[in-house]
Symmetry: C2
Subunit: 897 residues, 2 copies
């Protein structure tokens, strides 16, 4: 046991020794090793901590002589002396577990100060600084090491501030601080019966024991329990020499980024404040100089700093955020870490580092986050702008928009492009689509992430906030109220669809910037990714946009809109028709020719790309007026004694709507149930698709339609409808003398379809997971109702980790998908499998899809670039055993034991 | 090949040789072997058929000499001669596959008749009979063997009837029949160019070939395809001597049941008609005598018949339905089969046969069907009564009821027991419960099998029909219309809740009869079954009834009713409360004491039996007035210009109801989501349960409460609520100084709960499958909406085999259950698993539950006896490799290859 080494000088360690030296110790050692001047110090290992705990908190005695030896070496290295009044060595005592763990003791600074050394420090750095440092030491030591509640010290501090009329701590002058030191010492004596230790070595010893003990305090144990961190790792203790930047004008402190964190430019960037400590920079009393200025003023220092920064960047292979202090002309690096950066900078750095052969393409792809891409592709509120948020709703479609408030969609359409508008509605319906298109952004008081407003806005790539229940809209007065504020028509409003925030006024926005570097990154992503990227897009402009943004095919074309607008009255006639014959006639003779033109336009744009067309999906009552509105209208007419044909017709319609009323439309007469009960509806659609494809083929194009059946629960549905599709297709091919290849597949969006996927795969060419509905049925949770009523409470209480409609619930819904994939491939090895729910654009969900081994994800057009990147990242993670080295290093939480 | 035996005399075969001799041949052989006098004959084997097909329909030549030899033996046995004018032997040619198969040729009678032998038959049995037999032979032979459409013969027959003014076939006299024979022969010549074969051997040969060929006719192939019967089995051909009961008064024909099929009494029962053929009995021209009368008139015959009947019953070990013919004093048994019987008889015979040591208890249990038990326990419309069905709805609660129509529940309650009533409502609400209790039966125009009316009626054991959409109720006029008929208040109505039929008038009902024999059968079932039988029952009388009917525990006590009736206004105050404090106060101080009394009463009745209490489940808006009604009311008041406090209050309530409105309440804010968001609701319930249990325990009782959380989707819900339950329980136990054992479990009714059952089982003591909701979510199908809108079409079209809300969808929902059972037991081997959905009372579903290896099924009280029997039958089937020998014998459709 005596042989074992329990203490390592920084020079003896390395980054790989995290388990023994803790994260902090290993990093300090690493920097030492590459020749970076870090303040000297040493690490008492985790093994010492473990022994200490094993021996009933008594092991420290055994290694104490060793600690003393290392302290002596430290004195030699720094040329200072511990406890020496003339040139006192001060140290910080820092805990550092192998895995960073809030809840444990963190750091005690200025250890070594006592009634004598404080005077030495005063001479070197000024009295105010010295006594402030001393009172801070006593305060931290008293509370952390000696167990006195922090509030007791705070109380004394407050009293002192009151006494001296000081506004902040910084306003307390030497006299007051000296008094405070006395008060603190008395408090310690009173509460513990012991004096604050004047012996600096005693301070180290007590602080080290406190660190060891903090490993087993309640918060730390709880944290380990939650995150599955083993209890037997122990923590290390780092003893580091303090350096001071406020020892005159040959001293100072600063921060440097190795590249420009805003633009990504490969040029050092940062600030320096002479004769100051870090906290002076934070306090903002003096204005620091730009790092560039050092070049002139302290050329040697500048050269050394540049050299170190380059070394650090090269070593850590990423832009570094470096904290440094100069003590009497000597440069010390206190900390280096990967620097935060803007999305623009992230992309530029990643690309340039590949070109500089610093990192690989894969690493570059990992360096840009999906959020970065999203931000680059949408307008953003300038982060420098001060913003006052007046309300928040669901972030339904990303990007920021500024415009004048308008409540009426028709009016918005009239104004058109002449003025920037924000359309504010209780909720939107198909009637609002024109107004939505004319506005810069949309804000609704009701609705969830799959509400009409949300879905349409995402399709249009327009910023949108939904379910912003705080705003109370008065359509008649054309205003809304929010927390006592009244916002009227014409007032300027800014909305941020990426955060859900609503702000009054006309905030400054940053334009989206697709740089050549971004194109490069996405190109690399395309080379790397395995998942195909398809788009959910219904209308020709959206489909065109999707192809432009890199969609390889269309994973979901909804056909609902082909029954709306000017065609709605025609379709309503089929719903109200008394006989099948009547219904067939209207569908095939009136609607089919119009829809054929729709499909021709779509298949022309997607020429050569697979285009999955979903047959009619929503319940029929969605194509009729709302029950409540009509009920109110009829009641009002009757109460006012009206009679006549109009009332009778309305009553008849009301009756029909009541007949079609469903208690749970989500679980009702919709999806392919429509096609089974009214085959003529699907027949008309299939005829339109096949005829459109045949016409294009005749013109030499390459249409690739795939017909998708929604909401199946039983293979028999698919067999029945396949017969219909084949019959129509064969008839058309024979009549026209041209054959077109088409595929036939189904959505997997009900649990039963997934559970019986083996049977279903036998009669289909492809599956497309409708993860929205699948989440709703697997979790028994209607999205609109859940988001409005209880989902936020579930997330707040930690019952659900995330909104399952945003990020796939992999344990539940994902497991159902896994069953479907396994069973489906078992009976049909050629089966193509994709996903076309909202999750298709969510990076975490895309990662899950990659692991599931499906063929593609389909996302709304403006999410395509994000999806391309996320798919590549998933492939890289998978390739390197789930996580890259960089991620493992950055990882704070290990996988559960 | 010459060695192989292709023909077996009946004496040579046995019941086990079905594959070779076909079902019919093997049975005739079996009877021969046990000494029953069956008409002599032989069987051409299936192997002959197979060879015939293999050799391109040519094999018959090879065995023809053998056929001739067997015909000669037949002549010897019968003392008649084939083709002989004086004493002609006639035979029937019958097909008989190993598995009975409609779609193949069946039987040709009277083969051997020609222009000469018909005269011989005329002398023996009369000219009319002889020529009628002849024309029938030609007709059958012409159509089946020679391929002339049956209609052509029918046309000639009709012409003849017209010519002779004959009303029916039986009115045609000899002359007409002779003409018909000529016409038929001409038709054959004209259509085929061949004559009807006068050579009797040629008749046999052609008929045999026709049987062989019929194996591969379209209908037969289709049938085999559907039922998975192998194509290479082939069919046998039976040649059987004809016997005639119309050869004078020493001849006759009859039917005998070996026991009384109506009462089960062990005494022969049947009818005999002298000098007659079977068809005379069917025609009903003469009245047959009771078998008993034979005792006096033909004592020898009677004795012989009794002997044979006893032998047959003993041999087949079940009551037989025996067809016999006496030809000139000689008794021939034509057929025996297991006799149909009334439920009453089935039970009595089963019990008595056990006592007679004929069958085992297990067999007795298999002999009674669950439907038998159900019929015995409910009033039935007397099957002898002529009934005119005026409408049909969903058979929601079994049994028949007669009463006067009443539309108003309050009025029904007033009349109370003074008059039999049928309560007719558009649908029922908790306000109607009193009226329902007072009525004999309930009929509603709307609602599905889980509607309020259906659930409450089943709980009360009261006949009920729901969703009878054909009836149009006019509550103001107190009448309903159905197909032009008007039924007014006070009119007599009969409803059959077992069939869903509604009949006008006061039909005769049969009273339910629980006999000592039924008790015995159920007792044996209890010994045999493995599944526990629990009850779904909420109110004390229902719970008492359930225990009386054999429930071993309560699998589901819903607590909704404890918030209704006079407590509704109190609970509404909590829903409308602005603060948690206000809500807590009302719940704990006002509602809890009342509910504690409820639970005391319940746990007193179930003393010693496990009692699973489900915490509040339905969405809160169910406790408030309906949105539409209030909307109409407010609109009307406003339109009429009303103002004032009442309107304002109503508007405020309307606002709240609109706030609580959900698009899909089934997937909304309900089940344990209520308890997570408003813990005070569950806390009040748990306090009431635990305090009630503690009080009973103090009185020396043995309360066994189990607290069940509805609709969980995530273990975190259960962890959170378990904390609440444990806290309340511990507080109470400590305060009261008494501890009560209680269990904590959850419904598994959402797919996610099943999929993550391993996690959920770790924090629960039991699972109870809520198969209603599980079916709804797994299939994405709201029961009410589906049954109203499309489910019947799905079943009609064969897309779904059955209503999945009645019989478990084992492939989909059942597979999800299997996953839950497997995963649940993996992490908690002590886990108790049951089912408390509607399926708990459905025999097929109970069988599935047995195979799944769960612990119990829970059914509504009046289904308990059915469930006890079904559970025993499932255990027996499972024990004997799924099917009993008897079932295998009775089986007509084999398991798919």
């Amino acid at each position: 046991m005596g042989e074992e080494k329990y203490i390592y000088d920084f020079e003896e360690g390395s980054a790989e020794m995290k388990k023994l030296l803790g994260g902090k110790g290993a990093n300090l050692a690493e920097m030492s090793n590459i020749g970076v001047p870090v303040p000297p110090g040493f690490t008492i290992t985790t093994k010492a901590c473990i022994k200490y705990m094993e021996n009933g908190n008594k092991f420290l005695d055994t290694i104490w002589p060793e600690v003393l030896r290392h302290m002596e070496k430290l004195e030699v290295k720094t040329g200072k002396k511990f406890g020496d009044e003339g040139n006192p060595l001060l140290v910080s005592v820092r805990s550092g577990a192998p895995i960073s763990m809030p809840g444990m003791m963190d750091t005690i600074l200025n250890v070594g100060l006592n009634d004598e050394t404080v005077e030495g420090l005063a001479r070197l750095a000024g009295s105010r600084f010295a006594y402030d440092s001393y009172r801070r030491l006593i305060q931290m030591f008293g509370s952390i090491v000696m167990g006195i509640p922090r509030e007791e010290f705070e109380r004394l501090l407050e009293e002192k501030k009151k006494k001296y009329n000081a506004e902040s701590d910084a306003d307390l002058q030497v006299e007051a601080l000296k008094e405070l030191v006395d008060d603190y010492k008395k408090l310690i004596k009173k509460k513990t019966g012991r004096n604050f230790p004047q012996n600096p070595l005693e301070q180290i010893r007590m602080a080290t024991e406190a660190v060891f003990k903090s490993w087993n305090n309640r918060r730390a144990i709880k944290y380990r329990e939650i995150h599955g961190i083993p209890d037997d790792l122990g923590t290390a203790v780092n003893i580091v020499a303090m350096v001071f930047g406020n020892m005159g004008f040959d001293s100072g402190t600063g921060v440097a980024f190795t590249r420009n964190p805003a633009t990504g430019e490969n040029k050092i960037y940062g600030e320096y404040l002479p004769n100051a400590q870090g906290e002076d920079v934070v306090a903002g009393v003096r204005t620091p100089m730009k790092i560039d200025e050092l070049k002139e003023r302290h050329p040697n220092l500048y050269r050394e700093l540049i050299g170190i920064c380059q070394r650090l960047e090269k070593h850590y292979r990423d832009m570094q955020d470096v904290e440094f202090t100069v003590e009497r002309g000597k440069l010390w690096i206190l900390q280096t870490r990967t620097g935060k950066r803007t999305p623009l900078a992230a992309v530029r750095m990643a690309v340039e580092m590949v070109e500089e052969r610093v990192i690989s393409r894969e690493e570059a792809v990992m360096r840009v986050s999906p959020e970065d891409v999203e931000k680059l592709l949408h307008k953003q509120v300038d982060p420098k702008t001060k913003k006052e948020v007046i309300a928040a709703g669901l972030a339904a479609s990303p990007g920021a928009a500024v415009g004048k408030v308008i409540f009426n969609s028709d009016e918005a359409e009239e104004i058109g492009g002449n003025e920037p508008l924000i359309l504010v509605r209780p909720e939107t319906t198909p009637d609002d689509v024109g107004g939505m298109a004319a506005a810069q952004g949309i804000l609704t008081a009701r609705g969830g992430m799959t509400s009409h407003a949300a879905v349409v806005a995402r399709g249009m790539g327009k910023p949108c906030i939904v379910g912003c229940e705080a705003i109370k809209i008065d359509l008649e007065r054309e205003e809304f109220r929010v927390n006592g504020l009244i916002v009227k028509k014409g007032d300027w409003l800014t909305i941020d669809g990426s955060t859900g925030e609503v702000m009054l006024g006309k905030l400054k926005l940053i334009e989206p910037t697709s740089t050549p570097e971004l194109e490069k990154i996405l190109g690399w992503a395309d080379e790397i990714r395995v998942l195909g990227i398809y788009a959910n897009a219904d209308l020709p402009p959206d489909i065109r946009k999707a192809v432009e943004l890199g969609a390889e095919g269309i994973g979901l074309t909804r056909t609902e809109h082909m029954f709306l607008a000017e065609r709605l009255p025609i379709f309503q006639r089929t719903i109200l028709a008394e006989t099948e014959e009547e219904r067939r006639k209207v569908l095939l003779e009136e609607l089919k020719p119009l829809q054929k033109e729709d499909f021709k336009e779509i298949l022309k744009i997607t020429n050569g790309r697979k285009t999955i067309i979903r047959l009619l999906d929503p319940p029929l009552h969605e194509f009729l007026p709302g029950l409540n509105d009509l009920l109110v209208e009829v009641t009002r007419m009757e109460a006012k004694g009206k009679v006549g044909k109009e009332l009778e017709e309305k009553k008849k319609l009301l009756k029909k709507i009541e007949d079609l009323y469903e208690f749970n439309p989500m679980l009702g007469f919709r999806v392919c149930r429509l096609g089974i009960v009214y085959p003529e509806i699907y027949e008309a659609q299939v005829r339109a698709i096949i005829e459109a494809a045949v016409e294009l083929k005749k013109k030499g194009l390459n249409p690739r339609p795939a017909i998708m059946i929604p909401g199946t629960i039983h293979k028999n549905e698919l067999i029945e409808l396949r017969k219909l599709v084949e019959k129509v297709a064969e008839e058309t091919f024979e009549r026209e003398g041209v054959r077109v290849k088409y595929e036939y597949g189904t959505m997997i969006e009900m649990p039963r379809a997934a559970i019986t996927a083996d049977e279903i795969a036998e009669v289909t060419d492809f599956f497309s997971f409708g993860t929205n509905d699948l989440t709703q049925t697997v979790m028994g949770m209607s999205r609109d109702d859940a988001e409005r009523r209880f989902l936020h409470i579930y997330i707040d209480k930690g019952i659900l980790p995330e909104n399952p409609f945003k990020t796939l619930d992999t344990k539940g819904v994902g497991e159902v998908m896994r069953i479907a994939v396994t069973k489906g491939k078992r009976t049909n090895s050629e089966l193509e499998i994709g996903i076309c729910g909202e999750h298709g654009g969510d990076p975490k969900s895309i990662e899950f899809c990659h692991r599931l081994g499906i063929n593609y994800v389909s996302a709304s057009p403006y999410r395509i670039p994000v999806a391309r990147l996320a798919a590549a990242q998933a492939a890289i993670k998978y390739k390197y055993g789930e996580l890259t080295k960089r991620e493992i290093e950055a990882m704070e939480i290990p996988v559960k034991r």
